[in-house]
């Protein structure tokens, strides 16, 4: 009896993550309102934020006195929602494109090649930042939705390419030929022949892509590019500064980036480790599912 350890590990890690996102904010030691406690009394001394790691703040706090653990837990829901949104949209666009381009000719094939060429000459991360900086997206009240769309678009070509490769390989199979010989229509071919055969690979790749999207969110965080419409705060000389009002993990990184320049790594590593944890969960699950579908890890 050989169990699929990867699958169970991945499922357990993800279940914990989802549980933390769903029920975490209601736990007694989580500050749901993310209050900024700039000073607090400890053993008769007045202590200024950021607070050291202690029982009162297990992961320390930001320099404004927001508890790091609370922010991770409260931000989990938002982060996961963005990640799933981007991945779903990416697959909703990429899978049909890849299916249609399966014959390696025609308009959809050209579009796919074109998309991939576009994002190789302007790497996906740079392109995302470039579009994020356009005032139309930057100041739009629906910025988060635009950003989800942009993040989905920049890697649609890659998803489409993978689907196209599989479709092209599948079309050589003899049962596909049988389907064509029966004179089935294209839509029916896709629905009854291609998609069931592609589904295992799609599910595996979808899991791995969840990790990739989360990494992209983290990268944008390191570059201090916000996903959410921040509120504008007045500064001097008629200028204004964007202030982050969201709690997703990427923006938590970007809030701590200034600390990096003065050599404080403590707080920034908290959201980074949260992202690493979630990415590993998605990857374990994806790899476990791959083994499951290949029959390697099945109980014999």
């Amino acid at each position: 009896m050989k169990k699929n350890i990867l699958l169970w590990t991945g499922a357990a890690l993800l279940a914990f993550l989802l549980l933390a996102a769903a029920a975490g904010p209601y736990l007694p030691f989580i500050d749901r309102n993310l209050e900024e406690v700039r000073f607090r009394m400890e053993n008769g001394h007045l202590i200024k934020a950021p607070y050291e790691i202690s029982w009162r703040s297990p992961l320390g706090s930001s320099k404004f006195g927001v508890d790091n653990l609370s922010r991770i837990v409260v931000g989990a829901r938002e982060t996961l929602a963005i990640v799933f949104g981007v991945s779903l949209l990416r697959y909703a666009l990429g899978v049909p494109l890849g299916l249609l381009a399966g014959r390696r000719k025609g308009f959809s094939h050209l579009l796919l090649v074109w998309l991939n060429r576009l994002f190789s000459s302007m790497p996906a991360l740079l392109m995302t930042v470039l579009l994020a900086a356009v005032p139309f997206f930057l100041f739009s009240p629906g910025r988060l939705y635009w950003m989800i769309g942009i993040m989905a678009l920049v890697e649609t070509g890659r998803v489409g390419y993978i689907v196209q490769q599989h479709t092209a390989a599948l079309s050589q199979e003899s049962y596909m030929e049988a389907g064509r010989a029966l004179g089935l229509r294209r839509l029916r071919m896709f629905k009854a022949y291609y998609i069931p055969a592609l589904l295992p690979d799609l599910i595996v790749n979808f899991c791995l892509d969840l990790g990739k999207v989360l990494i992209l969110i983290g990268q944008l965080g390191v570059l201090t590019v916000y996903l959410n419409p921040g509120s504008a705060e007045a500064g001097l000389n008629n200028e204004f500064e964007f202030v982050n009002t969201a709690h997703d993990w990427g923006s938590m990184i970007s809030d701590q980036i200034p600390d990096l320049n003065v050599g404080r790594f403590g707080s920034i590593l908290v959201p980074v480790f949260a992202i690493v944890y979630a990415v590993l969960a998605f990857n374990f699950l994806g790899e476990g599912l791959r083994r499951h579908f290949n029959g390697i890890g099945r109980v014999k």
Binding site: L118, S121, P123, V134, F139, R158, Q219, V272, V276
Partner: protein, 314 residues
Amino acid sequence: MSIIALDERSPPILLKSMFRSFLIALSVFVVVALVVLIPRDFTVSVTPQYWIVPDGSLNWQAYGENIRGYVHSAIEHRTLGVTRYGEPAEPVVWAAFKISLPVILGALLAGFVLGIPKGMLDYALSRTRFALLGGGTTWLMQALPDFFLLLLARWYVIHYQGSHIRFFAQTGWESFVIPTVLASIYPIFYVARVTSSSIAGQEGLMYVKTARAKGMPESIVFGRHIMSNSLARVFTHIMPLGVYILSSLLLIEYLRNVPGASYRAFQAIDYNKVTASGGNVEPGVLIGTAFCFMLLVLVFQAVGYLARRRVSAR
């Protein structure tokens, strides 16, 4: 990351596909230029409660003027544009590209030189109880976010070292070695995974069985038969690998504060959360950088194509 297959084609079809490739490149270029030239102006209004409300809706007329003005000055002055400091963009792009190019090539080379042996090791260990040490580490290193490794490297080099390595060095050996090591982490494990899976794919094929049946020593079967065919597959991955390195370069340069091609392009985007004028976008630099990247990707494509033909012809 984009992956484009290199299929072996006969010369006339190759010529046609090269022409098509050129057309695609040209249209990509136009689109990059169009995105870059979107006007960055916006209006700000203040409500009676002193809320500042920026309005960034797209002004089509300004957009048209922007494009017309850019094309006009590009033709008249024969330049891609000027930077925010008034210099012509081309030398600036070239200077930035020269900083990044050794790193890109070094990371690519390191990826193949170290990744192939690692892949062979992974395959050798895959049947033993040390499989986790081989394929497991490869898998783990591929899954980890790049910024996690970068931040750890920066933290380690700055805080815990006795050898006085300069993390932010722009000259000297560190200026090449540090970014190359950081950029080559992913490629090494990517190549290792591709190598071990393509070796596994050769296992049990007819020509391998024939060679073994003829009584050839295992070293020759592995070295001459299996590896030469596996390497062909590995080298076709040079292009996706190159594209990955190009896109991973931004964070490496950003966290090291080195104005290489990617970071210079990032600066040219002029994304700034403190918005005063917002007019420092440098279209020339962005278009020039995209051009350099595109050329580099074409070179990768050609190298992958040649390498594949050479290895498979043997």
